[in-house]
Symmetry: C2
Subunit: 465 residues, 2 copies
């Protein structure tokens, strides 16, 4: 009887082990080959604890243990970024869209990409003019999905860096005939200062900077002058929708901010020359594209690019494609990047607005409400955390702050004294009573901005009372 019991138990154990070994594990995950160690390395680096105030990168400087060190957010320090510098100025200067970091960490699995050692080594890709066929296709799908631009029947050009395509288009729209007078490149103030800085630097016999459009109204301009007008809409810094004012045909529409995070989406833009930037959609520096109608302009643009850099690194193509695929796949769902962006920035704006409204020292730009086709089409407008574009509309990218107090003539300087770094209105050829605060950097940057604004507002209340 004892023997029977023992046998029964043993057989039961046999069955259990058998189940464990052959049935439970009947589908082991396929073990990884050559890509495994790179994946493990990336995961080890991602797991490094930087206290939420920094992050470690695969190509960071190594510590004594051979792992990359934490790279801390501004004003934080220490091996795990847990310590806050006491007198550190809030930096609201650049338009570095780091608030998207949290989004991509949520999308870790779908947005990761493995670059093999032999990935696209050639100078040439499968597509025309060094743009891969799939990337071009997905850029068109993205515009269609968002509804912000018409790309049918137009050419797409992909450029390195955020700035290269700007000059490429100026070149392409300038007179190719050497005997023509140079094109005059202009914009309406306030405008993105880079247009002027770059045009001045790369000025050739074919084009040069011509000033602001309001300067032109006061000057006598030869009717033979060719103008190239930059129109940024929504505008950087003030977020207003803009139209060309000169009525000439050579207009470069910079739509870097015409995405649902930053702006209501009205009709899809359908202009001849349009610029977009991935850095403002996803937060990744380093690639822009242009949508161009005219074949001649397109060819001059790609010609410029081929002599300027011979195309964009293939790693960038591959990564941009992966990111755009995530944006398209997540559209309208839990992981919608546009909704993430809109919600994050709206919350920031509300806090800043509340603080600024508590005093008479500063004011912020306000826009009239406009219906957003992107969010309107996918959800009912409702109050609370659901995006709604039917109520009063704000700009969520940059705060275009005005100093209202008479003695604060230089608003940038007034903030600087309060340990806030902003971008002075004068840089945009605007009144120095204005200055720009970037709302799209890290949460730490934004929190510190609020903290530094607080005493400026309170102190001023006391001073004016």
């Amino acid at each position: 009887m004892k023997l029977q019991l023992a046998l029964f138990s043993s057989l039961f154990l046999n069955a259990y082990f058998y189940f464990c070994l052959f049935l439970h594990h009947h589908q082991p995950p396929p073990s990884l080959g050559w890509a495994g160690s790179a994946a493990r390395e990336a995961e080890a680096v991602a797991a490094i604890d930087c206290s939420g105030h920094g992050r470690a990168f695969l190509d960071g400087v190594l510590d004594g243990g051979g792992l990359p060190v934490c790279e801390c957010n501004k004003c934080y320090y220490g091996s795990d970024c847990s310590r806050l510098l006491h007198d550190c100025a809030a930096d609201a200067d650049s338009g570095d869209a780091l608030f998207f970091e949290a989004y991509w960490q949520q999308q870790a699995a779908s947005s990761a990409v493995v670059v093999s050692g032999w990935h696209r080594m050639s100078y040439f890709t499968d597509g025309k003019d060094d743009l891969t066929i799939e990337l071009e296709k997905h850029i068109r799908i993205l515009h269609q999905a968002v509804g912000n631009a018409v790309t049918d029947g137009k050419f797409i050009v992909f450029g390195a860096g955020s700035a290269q395509l700007i000059n490429a288009l100026v070149y392409a729209l300038s007179p190719s005939n050497a005997s023509s007078s140079p094109a005059s490149v202009v914009a309406s103030a306030p405008y993105y200062p880079f247009y002027k800085e770059q045009t001045n630097q790369f000025e050739t016999r074919a084009y040069g900077w011509g000033g602001t459009t309001s300067d032109l109204a006061n000057a006598s301009v030869s009717s033979a002058t060719n103008f190239i007008e930059f129109v940024t809409s929504p505008n950087n810094p003030d977020g207003l929708f803009k139209q060309p004012v000169l009525g000439t045909s050579a207009v470069i529409f910079d739509y870097a901010y015409y995405w649902p995070q930053y702006s209501p989406i009205l009709d899809p833009a359908d202009e001849d020359v349009m610029l977009f930037s991935i850095s403002k959609i996803s937060g990744h520096a380093g690639s822009r594209w242009a949508v161009i109608k005219d074949e001649g302009v397109y060819e001059r643009t790609t010609n410029y690019l081929s002599l300027n850099t011979m195309g964009v690194s293939r790693d960038t193509h591959l990564r941009a494609l992966k990111l755009i695929k995530v944006m398209i796949a997540e559209k309208g769902g839990e992981g919608d990047i546009f909704e993430f962006g809109y919600r994050t920035l709206k919350a920031r704006w509300s806090k800043l607005h509340e603080l600024v409204s508590s005093s008479s020292r500063f004011s912020l730009q306000q826009h009239s409400a406009q219906y957003c086709n992107y969010f309107g089409a996918i959800r009912d407008p409702s109050p609370g955390n659901a995006p709604s574009r039917t109520n009063e509309e704000e700009d969520h990218t940059y705060a275009w702050l005005k100093c209202e107090w008479k003695e604060d003539e230089d608003c940038h300087e007034a903030l600087r004294k309060g340990s806030i770094i902003s971008r002075a209105g004068a840089r945009f050829e605007a009144d120095s009573r204005y200055t720009r605060l970037s709302l799209i950097k890290t949460q730490d940057d934004f929190d510190l901005l609020l903290k530094r604004m607080q005493p400026l507002v309170s102190r001023e209340e006391m001073a004016s009372s």
Copy 2:
């Protein structure tokens, strides 16, 4: 007894199962998290069979089954690239260093890199002027390990694309004073045609193309003229070591080919302005760097880059770092990329040389023997497949072919009639009796080149006999 036997068997089986379950598998590989699916995706694409005449890429066009299609080598077609086009011309035109593909496939595990969705999203890196600290450090280590350049006390600038830095340096060396006469950009023929094409295209008030140095000897040149001289050494197309001929201070030394695959390494280069290109070392298009001694020139170069593209994509930094780390780690061992390159190209050169020598129609450049510090220092010179630089020296990058037959005045055209695409000597401002054949493309390209050369040589033998 039966019961005992059964119990014994069952216990034995349990012991075996226990061993399998808990002892044999006591160290399961750590299972992968977020990076796992990207790694599996990359491995699935790498496993696609393209018959050795093509490869599939992660960002390739998808077939009906959702996997990327094979992208075939030139002249091959079919879903697995197994079919050869009958009348396809051999293309020996571009300097696309695709022969390295095989090397990186061998180094699959060590050269793969995972780019996370949130990898270095900022416009800024941990280093100065957008170059990561680790990449800069490893560029210096690589030069030290190869012995081809002195970087101590010099600045490193990293540029997008293979062409951007060329113009950036011309800009940086041009007079910044607007009242100075423009700098005259020159080179000695035969020279890389890109210098002229790019300078002409981007010509500003500060510089323009000035022709070849031999043109200058015949012209009356104002002593006030500022010259910027390009010196490529070893030279493209003919592989000769070159020196500046004008004796002016503004010289851009392009050392794209001063690596042990292509050239004996003599003393480390120690010039004020030196250019290198990763595309020729590893085969990856898309990044160059400059080594610059003077701080003013360095600052003007980075200023140009910041207005031209605002730095290089971070994905490119990360990948370039990984590749350079492999090159350094494998140096002197089985996987030495320089030895791989040297062996591959020497074998190709020998075959072409043998074929060309069999007729009087063509001749190839020959250089005098020079000792290579790189290989000399790490192994005894010995015949056979071990690299030796003590015997007669050849150029292995490009064949600078001369048509010797009187009626073959246009050598490029003579080859074209035989279905070979070469790069005409006239493009380098050389005699049209010369043409350049690239030896660094895929094995298929090279094999087809030999196949198309064969009848040209044989037919000519008949014609001349």
